[in-house]
């Protein structure tokens, strides 16, 4: 493998929620065709990073390059047209539109109708369950189906880069496995790059190629997933591996002062 072709590059990004600094200078890169994951506790700034990339929040400092083009402070709809799709946390499907209409909304920026029909079929191929509910209003779908629909909708844009925010949220163990195997398939079959935010560190590390660990708005660790999985800290804090009898100690430790 030669030097990886970087399609997304964040340099020194700072973002704010009102007066509060949510990200404090983050730099990261997503190579072409790879899955990169962001790990971190609640409030570490993972979701904010994704929102900053997709243009929902404007960063105050730093640059974001997508396919060599600066996209910081660009409007969200323009960024989508460049080939960058965002599946937000909590799914955000259009509740009153049917499954089909939701998918068509995903293809909204596109003009090539034949290819769109083809892609709809491809999405139904990934998520056969959606085909069964093609005319149902999205609001009536179960949580897992809504998550599938949200991912499917993003795929309809044929993105070069897919941002996934907590795809496993509220899903049953079997569905989590299913969703992640599909994510892997999408990545392999279409060569789509994916930036993944996930609380379920185990699945995320198994799925992704490279990982960044965020804490209070900073990158504290980054490495290949394989190496991360073997790191002591990651094992203890993100994978929940601990020696038997450590419970009392953990209880005491939960009052971390830096939290």
């Amino acid at each position: 493998m030669s030097v990886p072709d970087i399609i997304l590059k964040l340099s020194n990004i700072e973002s704010y929620y009102g007066p509060i600094m949510a990200i404090r200078g983050i730099s990261l890169a997503v190579p072409r065709g790879k899955i990169v994951t962001l790990l971190g506790a609640n409030g570490a700034g993972k979701t904010t990073v994704l929102k900053t990339i997709s243009g929902i929040i404007d960063p105050q400092k730093g640059t974001i390059e997508f396919l060599g083009q600066p996209i910081q402070r660009m409007e969200a709809d323009k960024i989508v047209r460049l080939g960058l799709s965002h599946v937000p946390e909590g799914r955000e499907v259009f509740p009153f539109l049917s499954v089909r209409e939701n998918l068509m909304m995903g293809a909204y920026p596109r003009r090539d109708r034949a290819a769109v029909t083809e892609d709809i079929e491809r999405v139904y191929g990934y998520f056969p369950r959606l085909r069964e509910r093609i005319d149902q209003a999205a609001g009536q779908l179960s949580g897992g189906e809504q998550q599938m629909l949200a991912i499917g909708r993003a795929l309809m844009n044929r993105p070069t880069l897919l941002l996934l925010d907590e795809p496993s949220l509220g899903l049953s163990p079997i569905l989590v496995k299913e969703i992640f195997s599909i994510i892997r398939r999408v990545n392999e079959e279409q060569g789509m790059s994916i930036l993944l935010v996930e609380q379920n560190a185990k699945v995320a590390l198994e799925t992704a190629d490279y990982g960044y660990v965020l804490e209070t708005g900073r990158v504290v660790m980054n490495d290949t997933c394989e190496r991360l999985m073997h790191s002591k800290d990651i094992q203890e804090f993100y994978l929940g591996a601990k020696e038997v009898g450590a419970r009392a100690e953990r209880r005491w430790k939960k009052k971390k002062t830096w939290r």
């Binding site: 946390e89 897992g144 163990p173 079997i174 609380q199 560190a201 993100y238």
Partner: protein, 252 residues
Amino acid sequence: MSYFRAENLSLHFGGLKAVDAVSFAVEKGEILSIIGPNGAGKSSIFNLISRIYNPTSGRLHFEDQDITAAPAFEIAKLGIARTFQNIELFENATVLSNLLVGRHRHSTSQLWQELLFLPSVRATEKVHRRRVEQVIEFLDLAAYRDKLISGLPYGVRKVIELARALCSEPKLILLDEPSSGLNVEETDDMSFWIRDMKTELGVTVLMVEHDMTLVNRVSDRVIALNYGRVLAAGTPSEVQQHPDVVAAYLGA
């Protein structure tokens, strides 16, 4: 007589049977978990108990009282509190005022007394405040006390919802996916809190959860649902080894 009972509970939407003749009982001081695939009807059962939906048929009993026809706000007054799968917090209010709403079932003041903010109102407000502070301490939320909900991360909101339910000093608490959006470490904390609720606060817990680690650690009993019907019931390990549960829910 069980502490809480659901008898032949059904909820039909047109032809769809979201909940289909489900019966179960919760004993006082017990932690009962409901597991099952998405769309199996777990949240619907919660919505039936808290009277957001009316059951198509069946009855609900709590402390020897038939609560099938009680209005939603009465359920809370009886001491049943809950959290929501998709989080229903008061977005444009601070954490503190969200938690104080949790105290609502304990408020006794009249409108005119509140307009004048009589000393009696002031005194009860301080009592409410002290209780809320105990919950904040219990769930380690001091850092967020004066923050607006709308800026907080998902996992924190999840905990605040739990806190709001606890503020009402419930006898029975319904937790809808308490660990969703929490990482391993935070889920760990959650498991301690749930156990403490049972042992220290004497709350009976009915919980819907996907994280089997958490289910195993805290539950006394588990029931598994699929397509609105009870698939299996028993101790956590019994249910998890049940072949139907493995096939429908856990995966090989």
